[in-house]
């Protein structure tokens, strides 16, 4: 009976190997899922916005207010508010931009849109400069115009080595006071606003962009038919407010 033992062992060995690989794959999947959000958060916070900006040491437990007053578009008394955490260099943010504009046009005064900065400088080298350009334009009352220009021309500047000069040309086309714009770009006020938005993102557990909150509730958009879903959620929020 002795020779039978190794034979049956050999017979079952592949099954054992397959089960072991399956188990390892499942465990690896779960570990990766867990570490992903943590890594994204750390990567963002480890990157100083500028040398002068204060860095948050740990994630605050209470939601932070973000930059005040926030950049908002639409009626302040609108029944539905979308708060978007965006990175001007993030391609999905760029492709979401025209969709959101269509939604804004369709809902009119019933919808308010708030934009929050969440630049991801570790993978988007021009993201912080873009956020600074938008904020600097904002100091002259042209935040949304610059916001739209940055998203609409994302493909032109995302890989550019001299993105700043492109942002300057956008500012010029918006008829900004160029001397003031240049002075504001890296100013403490501008950086503090961006930092405040990033801290708000962190306090809300936002790990990436674009992340949307509808009336304070984070939305998990499905991978397919995301825009249709978003419209459905806005309709539901409006109906809820009416009651």
């Amino acid at each position: 009976m002795n020779p039978k033992k190794p034979q049956s062992f050999k017979r079952y060995l592949p099954i054992v190997i397959i089960i072991a690989v399956f188990a390892v794959a499942i465990i690896a999947f779960l570990i990766m899922m867990r570490s992903f959000s943590d890594d994204a958060r750390k990567a963002r916070l480890d990157q100083p916005l500028t040398s002068s900006a204060a860095r948050p040491d740990s994630r605050p437990r209470t939601p932070q207010p973000g930059a005040q007053p926030p950049h908002e578009r639409g009626d302040a008394s609108a029944a539905a508010t979308i708060e978007e955490f965006g990175d001007f260099q993030c391609p999905p943010c760029g492709s979401f931009h025209p969709e959101l504009k269509k939604i804004e046009a369709d809902y009119g005064s019933r919808l308010r849109v708030v934009f929050r900065h969440l630049p991801l400088p570790q993978i988007h080298k021009n993201a912080v400069a873009a956020a600074q350009a938008a904020e600097a334009a904002g100091r002259q009352g042209r935040f949304w115009q610059m916001h739209d220009m940055l998203y609409e021309n994302q493909s032109a500047w995302e890989k550019a080595t001299d993105a700043s000069s492109m942002f300057t040309s956008y500012a010029r086309s918006l008829n900004l006071d160029m001397q003031r714009f240049a002075g504001d770009l890296n100013s403490t006020d501008v950086n503090n606003r961006i930092r405040a938005d990033m801290m708000r993102a962190d306090s809300l557990g936002v790990t990436g962009t674009p992340t949307l909150f509808l009336n304070g509730r984070e939305m998990t958009l499905p991978s397919s038919n995301a825009i249709q879903y978003l419209r459905g959620q806005i309709d539901a929020a409006l109906a809820e407010k009416k009651q």
């Binding site: 999947f29 990766m32 959000s37 963002r44 962009t209």
Partner: protein
Amino acid sequence: MSTIDRATDAGAVKNRETAPERVESKGSLTAFVIAAALSLVGLADALYLTVQHVAGRSVRCTVITGCDEVLASPYAVLPGGVPLAALGALAYFAVFSLATLAAFGYGWARAPLAVLVALMLATTLGLLYLQAFILEKFCEFCLLSAAVTLSLAVVLIAKRRLRGDDGGAHG
């Protein structure tokens, strides 16, 4: 044929249902071991892409830039919202299982392995076309998967070509 030989044959017939049907030739064994190893690389890659997809839009912009557009495209999702990468992971796991079984002499695993790799090759070529001509963006992790599938196909085709020699040596 000696008595011992006959006894061995009888035992082989008796165990046919469950036991490995043949001892693989060295060439075939090497091919199946390489295929199993390659499929593990593919499995790890597909799992990574699945995690990115399942973790949702949040990691699209936080992990790797090259894959943003590709993974955010509608082609990355199967009907029902299942990420294509998950199907890839399943396929690589199936390839690993079949190649391992084949390496241990389970002959029935060879045909489904060949069919599966052929299907994966066709899918890979389709996805490469999408990346090159429709999306005009390449995702490096998707390209790694394509390289693994192409290698799998090459290994199995090479094995098939060599099989004539193997058969001669053992027949």
